[in-house]
Subunit: 334 residues, 2 copies
């Protein structure tokens, strides 16, 4: 199915578009056929997020205008203007961020780990090419060096072009961008380099698969100083308890400090929630549930741009789990 034909039938204005032959939609979703970007063939003017990761359900957003649509070396990249959530970044048909709710994800994935340790100095971001995590890491005055390793340069370029309030993170002079494979990058990092590693990955089916496997977590642990912290995107308790169970069990084996699961609300992610795996290496103990470096309180004393979502209360609340999830996670984590 050629995407040109599909999009053409929707009468959507398309600013820039290249033909891509691939169709990222599995055969099982034939009833809601779409091109590799999720632009629906059967709902003219709407984007529908369809994936074998969440079969039988789909979130749809009304499209005002497709702003960008190309195939990079790694994935289909699309940006559209939605009527309800502002501009939307889509990779391989899956929503990565929207202007309206990106604050929840970016603030939580950055501040859950960084507010849990005193004076973070060196931080590594794996993935997160949009720059939103960098923007949040930059809020810490103790930070001296921020490395980011993103595999897909097109994601960086597209974010700088269409999401300036997210990509603003790149403007911090402490940031060094490395385009390449995060797994290889970590292997080359000298032992005990970083205070914190933040893994802002896409889902474990596709290019990010390795980032959920044990060898990767071993590399992260090695790259962290004693008592250093990792925070990684860790799926939805409503949809992927089996994946989460595996991540928790792997981390429990590899990280000899704290191992905790937290979660938050992001309306445009499947099931409306996303989780985070927080781990620390052996060394000075880390109590993730009670921030020792509360960035919200530090910022409120300055005139900096205020946080939209994160605060110390929501930090602690993020570790409180529904009983069905607590039962499974506690059995693996303790």
């Amino acid at each position: 199915m050629a995407s040109d034909g599909v999009v053409g039938s929707t009468d959507l204005p398309v600013k820039r578009q290249r033909e891509d032959g691939e169709n990222g939609v599995s055969a099982s979703t034939l009833s809601m056929e779409a091109d590799g970007n999720g632009v629906s063939a059967v709902i003219p003017g709407w984007f529908s997020e369809i994936s074998p990761m969440w079969p039988g359900e789909a979130h749809s957003l009304k499209v005002e205008e497709i702003l960008f649509k190309e195939k990079s070396d790694y994935q289909n990249v699309m940006v559209f203007q939605s009527s309800a959530y502002g501009k939307v970044l889509v990779l391989d048909g899956v929503i990565q961020l929207t202007e309206r709710d990106e604050c929840a994800y970016q603030e939580m994935i950055a501040h859950l780990p960084l507010s849990s340790i005193p004076d973070p100095k060196k931080v590594l971001v794996i993935g997160g090419g949009d720059g939103g995590v960098l923007r949040e890491v930059s809020r810490y005055s103790s930070v001296e060096k921020i490395d980011i390793c993103e595999i897909d340069k097109m994601v960086v370029d597209v974010s700088k072009q269409f999401f300036p309030e997210v990509a603003v993170g790149y403007e911090d002079p402490r940031v060094t961008l490395h385009i390449g494979d995060g797994v290889a990058f970590l292997k080359a990092v000298p032992e005990a380099t970083y205070d914190a590693v933040i893994v802002d990955s896409s889902d474990p089916i596709g290019p990010a698969q390795e980032l959920f496997e044990k060898p990767f977590f071993e590399s992260v642990a090695r790259a962290l100083r004693p008592g250093g912290v990792m925070c990684t995107q860790a799926e939805s308790i409503w949809l992927h308890m089996n994946i989460i169970e595996g991540i928790v069990a792997n981390c429990r084996q590899i990280f000899k400090g704290s191992v905790n699961y937290a979660w938050t609300t992001v309306p445009t992610y499947p099931s409306g929630v996303i989780g985070f795996m927080l781990c620390s290496t052996e060394g000075p103990p880390v109590d993730f549930k009670h921030p020792v470096n509360p960035i919200d309180q530090i910022l409120s004393q300055k005139s900096d741009k205020p946080l939209k979502f994160y605060n110390s209360e929501i930090h602690t609340a993020a570790f409180c789990l529904p009983s069905f999830a607590k039962k499974v996670i506690d059995s693996k984590a303790e």
Copy 2:
């Protein structure tokens, strides 16, 4: 647009169906036309939840079989078997509950108020015809009397037929079902009758509109004993801060005890979250954030059916709000 034609075109098996002439979908959603039940004309075999309450977005579920579809005196009532969330109850095109995630809503709307007061004896449920809230209220051994006032008998009957694990609440001998208008019922209630009133309503556009207005809250406050508690469904912080702001301001004027907003995750509700307004009348003080009657701990000592979602930690966490919501709600509530 006749629903028969629409459903017929989807090739779905329909067990029981009656023609209904009304179309609950606004003209602005023409790009995703559906009948009054949300069975999509353009996504064959899927249900799409479309409403002017959340324009420009839609959650869709794959339909295995439509089990029930009629128009009551008040609304379109539909039950379908979904592939991802079990059986689904839909009123006027809006998902009310699914077998997979109903635990989150029912447990939170019942236990947030009832775990906050010692020994609740008389409880009134307004709406909640499916019986799920009754099921949760029944867990308290101190409760002597549970009244429920539901306007639409068809909802009760359909729940008993298709959702036996939800409607099981009706089997408790302490329950008395009143079919009628909740507003009128409350006006006739003698002053200071109930320890708790739980308002399990649909959205404020449609038959439930009055349940979000000041005269209704005044009736609730009058029906409660001093230090009695109300918990009412109170929309999504991501979608309806303007509605929430109004509810909080109204409640602050009418309830002279505590006024607090809490929220939880429900994947099949728009934006994936739903909020609750918790208020107490003047009298013995109620600290909603710290349960004095922790039902999870009481039940864990018995052999009763365990809670799936609620626990004391998630109770307290439910009152922690993202900064953008906290700012608005605190300005109205304190």
